[in-house]
């Protein structure tokens, strides 16, 4: 079974590269998974349903994602459902999960999971992210892990699972140690007491062109970053970065000497088709 699992994962990694290529994306940088879904002719919708996700094989194919799950989790589940789509699996429902389904024995689930992991966290891109910052993956601390997870739009534990189970760059004991520090604790250590629902950390090395946020979530930006848009509110100044809180649905462009990023702010637990998540509301 171990050998079978490994070969399924290799197959999944190759498929993730193929999917990126089909959508004219490189094999390095973070992606907007919802734009990729659209490029693969699937329609993504966030729904008020207690589950993880649902893939509907039809014309058009549809992906339903639970709005109740954390923001980075929704992106991973979207990629997972796209895996079912890519491999031609039938209509399938994914129940609520507490982890990354890494223990699933169902070959279709292993395949979809591997596809999602490599699609969002390509090997070259992830290793580049650590190298560019001068960080050793096997020794990186919680804040460093959260910074790289932010860049790729995935959850902290999802990155740890990928580094450990898929890339084998993180020893299991180190992963277990890192998992003891929850994202909420990392947030508190960095910012002090706060009531943010999540935190995205963007440093000067990050390569994402778009970043998903929702109202109530915080975003850390390097000092000197200029904002164009009114979806963020200043929430704190620190020695090396500024903190903002997402407060209004819409788009804000963040620009500094190193990069320009489109920040997309959705309502909290947004329900609706993915393409409307950051549509500005004239009623507000």
């Amino acid at each position: 079974m171990v050998a079978g699992r490994r070969s399924i994962i290799l197959n999944a990694a190759q498929a993730a590269s193929d999917a990126r290529e089909q959508a004219s994306l490189d094999l390095v940088d973070p992606i907007d998974v919802y734009a990729l879904a659209s490029a693969l002719n699937t329609r993504v919708r966030f729904v008020d349903i207690d589950m993880e996700g649902f893939y509907f094989k039809g014309s058009p194919a549809r992906v339903l994602l639970s709005a109740h799950r954390p923001l980075p989790r929704r992106a991973f589940t979207c990629a997972h459902e796209l895996g079912h789509h890519w491999f031609g699996h039938g209509t399938t429902m994914d129940e609520l999960q507490t982890d990354d389904r890494s223990d699933s024995e169902n070959p279709n689930e292993i395949l979809a999971n591997g596809f999602a992991s490599f699609l969002l966290m390509p090997t070259i891109g992830i290793r580049r992210a650590f190298n560019a910052r001068g960080w050793d993956i096997s020794k990186a601390g919680p804040l460093q892990m959260l910074t790289v997870a932010s860049e790729f739009g995935v959850g902290y534990e999802t990155l740890l699972t990928h580094l450990s189970m898929m890339l084998k760059d993180l020893p299991p004991n180190r992963r277990a140690e890192l998992e003891k520090t929850k994202p909420k604790k990392i947030r508190k250590n960095l910012l002090g007491e706060n009531d943010l629902t999540g935190l995205t950390i963007l440093d000067s090395h990050q390569q994402a062109k778009t970043i998903e946020l929702e109202i109530g979530r915080g975003v850390v930006l390097p000092k000197g970053t200029l904002l164009d848009g009114n979806s963020l509110t200043a929430a704190g100044t620190f020695p090396t970065f500024d903190l903002y809180r997402a407060t209004k649905r819409g788009l804000t462009t963040a620009k500094n000497a190193a990069w320009t990023v489109e920040l997309r702010i959705a309502p909290t637990k947004f329900i609706g088709p993915a393409q409307y998540r950051y549509l500005e509301d004239p009623d507000e």
Partner: protein, 120 residues
């Protein structure tokens, strides 16, 4: 069904589909190039909605026109062939979650039609 019942059903379906699309009345008005009160009146059943407007609303909400018109059911049957493969998995959902899922699936537009029959 009387004309006024039919109009009330259509009005409630338009509102239901709008909320499921995460749009405010103002956003819909802007996408339809209408004044906001027109959307309010449609949802209150006080305004006649043209066939062209139904087509546009269905496009915006990504639902079937027949759902908005009240001509198709509110829920997909659990034994519907479209979800046959997942029927066993679906039974694992809590009853409330299952109802919500079958409702969402009933609304969706299906593009499985000969070319030209669909709008756009």
């Amino acid at each position: 069904m009387s004309e006024s019942e039919r109009r009330r059903l259509m009005a409630s379906r338009i509102k239901d589909a709008r909320l499921a699309a995460g749009l405010s009345q103002g956003q819909v008005a802007k996408l339809m190039a209408l004044h906001r009160p027109s959307v309010t009146e449609m949802e209150a059943g006080n305004r006649k909605v043209s066939a062209d407007e139904i087509r546009k609303l269905a496009n915006i909400f990504d639902v079937s026109p027949s759902y908005l018109l009240g001509e198709s059911p509110d829920m997909l049957a659990i034994d519907d062939p479209k979800i046959q493969l997942a029927a066993r998995e679906l039974q694992k959902l809590e009853p409330e979650a299952l109802d919500k899922l079958l409702h969402a699936l009933a609304m969706f537009r299906n593009d499985d039609k000969p070319k030209g029959e669909n709008d756009n």
